[in-house]
Assembly symmetry: C2
């Protein structure tokens, strides 16, 4: 049900011809109110795509009537013309829906450094608007796929209100604040400030801790829109938990569909002095190419975990470190632990626990293995 | 000629049986004086192998009579027993040569987390000592190979004095202070302080800027020994330049033999506000897996260069960035530049220039492409 699970939203997904293969490539999500409150988080990459620069301005107004999303081109590093194209897209949506352009967020995904075919995109907006429906969430989720093999949606329904959403993302997946494109909707009756607080709290422990390939995108955007149409105002904690659940579910789906991956790796850092230490260590382990290759080979090579920990500034003593892989403590006190032959790595999900023995804080980072398929897919992406 | 090109040094390389395949695995380099001055730089990884912890102590004494090096095992993450083994190795060398153990540096390389077979290693020291020769440099260079396909040596001879050296390293190649194992020798008559200054100046701009796979080793060691036997004391600048040349040559050889690589990539950052900015940006580009895959596919995907620059703290404006690949400015002013079809990427060496347009400082980082062969080699390394 995706973004139309919550009441007060319509969506559509169509093939506008932006992708040369004819696959769906344009999605529209419209908030029919009564509220139009919204919050957003964006990539912390300093090279930001035109739609990110535009949508950041939109969000400052605190009202979002519609989100238009395209795959088939990131509209990043496209200069003033790229920004004009984003603006023209928002104006077109505004015109068709009878809203103000400054309430239209724009998201793009695809190859960097290529201008969008506006002669396909603008007519596509009209086609999409004509197909808007309260059942269009699934089609919208499909239209934002790039190298994704499946579309990603998630819904949590509580007592009288709902949070739903869609996500895309399969590569260049290492957010600094958000991840790839995500639109969340809710019919809970909440103001923009509450949405913002709940969204930032959720992304910090979900999308922000998804690190498939260490490469931060220029286009990452996560939006949360409220229509208020349920007439229900839940307590903050309950609402924030629902948003976190949806984000967590979508983040897990992103990892599960990462380019070329054969393993989903849960890196759990425990015994850290601070949460920041735990995140830094988790990210260092998650980004270690040699370890990612070892996991691909189902090799519990814990020495590569220790060498990754050793590059961080976190508090720890080398001779107190411990590492468990799928429940077997193969490293104890910084040295050889249980028999590595006991480690069963046949399944897709692999669980690495790194114990810093320096405190009680924890953090979990999700990543993938490094595979020949990842190399093949990404050595031929634009050519 | 390697480490025996300079007068006053003997070396040997033998198969002690540490490697199960019977290949050479033990090297000995001996300084026959009259001087025994030395300097060393070590990995900045906080998880340090036993031989690094030992050799750091040796270097504090400022005198090195001999270096014993083994491949076939890193002796890292091996606890107190590992350190005892390193100590016993130094004691054995000291006993055989009639020197003090505190003047014997030890280097190990190979798999992390495995104890060395001391029943093979200690008799090997006696065998190696019996084969010490002023022509043994080549054999020593061969004995320290792990996944290296070729051994690496370099020599610069000046007016009456020489700097020579050997290196090993093919993976886990991203130094924070040095790289893998390198022994340099000179017969120039210089004290330890001068050696230290020249060595640090050289490694900072050579090994420190070799970043093949972003993975920092637990065992990196670079040693520079002076026998003083030429009786010549060159000026500091001339000597430092010779050391830099040897380090540069060896560093380039490491990149040329990196595991699974099909491209050697020179990332040159220009127009930086500071040298630190240039290094940070160069390293970020060099570590971007998506870009490394694109280069493997001979795809001049400059958008991935910009997305890597955008993750740094360096001074720059996104709309002033420029990127040239093999001489073609495919990105100008942060947007599309010359026709990417003009870029010829058929050869092994690829030259990327990133212009930050923010100053006059520069730095060059060398890296490799990311290949299916790298994945295959490293997914089966320990199993």
């Amino acid at each position: 049900m995706s973004v139309t699970a919550a009441k007060g939203f319509q969506a559509a997904g169509i093939a506008a011809g932006i992708k040369q293969n004819g696959n769906p490539d344009l999605a529209l999500v419209v908030n029919t109110g009564p509220r139009r409150a919204a919050a957003g988080v964006f990539t912390s990459n300093r090279v930001k795509a035109a739609p990110v620069l535009w949508s950041e301005q939109v969000l400052k107004g605190g009202q979002v009537s519609a989100v238009v999303l395209n795959s088939g081109g990131a509209n990043a590093c496209t200069g003033p013309k790229g920004f004009q194209d984003t603006h023209a897209t928002a104006e077109k949506v505004a015109e068709v829906l009878g809203r103000g352009a400054i309430e239209v967020a724009v998201c793009s995904t695809g190859l960097i450094g290529v201008l969008l075919p506006m002669d396909k995109l603008l007519p596509g907006v009209e086609t999409a608007a004509a197909q808007l429906s309260e059942h269009g969430g699934e089609k919208a989720a499909i239209a934002i796929k790039t190298t994704d093999t499946v579309h990603k949606t998630s819904v949590v329904t509580k007592d009288g209100w709902t949070v739903g959403g869609m996500a895309k993302g399969a590569g260049m997946l290492a957010p600094g604040l958000a991840t790839m494109l995500v639109v969340l909707t809710t019919d809970a009756d909440l103001d923009g400030e509450t949405l913002d607080r709940a969204l930032r709290a959720a992304t910090k422990v979900t999308f922000d801790r998804v690190d498939s390939d260490g490469c931060m995108s220029t286009n990452d955007t996560v939006l949360l829109l409220s229509s208020g149409s349920s007439g229900t105002t839940p307590g903050y904690e309950e609402f924030a938990e629902a948003v976190r659940q949806v984000c967590d579910d979508l983040g897990r789906q992103l990892i599960g569909d990462a380019e070329g991956a054969s393993k989903d790796i849960k890196v759990e850092v425990v015994g850290a002095a601070t949460e920041e230490d735990a995140v830094e260590v988790g990210r260092s382990i998650a980004r270690n190419n040699l370890l990612k290759c070892a996991i691909h080979g189902e090799d519990p090579n814990w020495g590569r975990v220790l060498s990754a920990i050793g590059t961080t500034r976190a508090a720890f003593e080398p001779d107190r470190l411990g590492v468990a892989i799928n429940g077997v403590w193969v490293c104890k006190n910084g040295s050889v632990g249980e028999d590595r032959e006991k480690v069963d790595m046949r399944y897709r999900e692999v669980h690495i626990v790194a114990d810093l023995a320096a405190g009680t804080e924890t953090a979990t980072i999700w990543t993938n293995d490094l595979t020949a398929d990842y190399v093949h897919e990404n050595s031929a992406y634009s050519s």
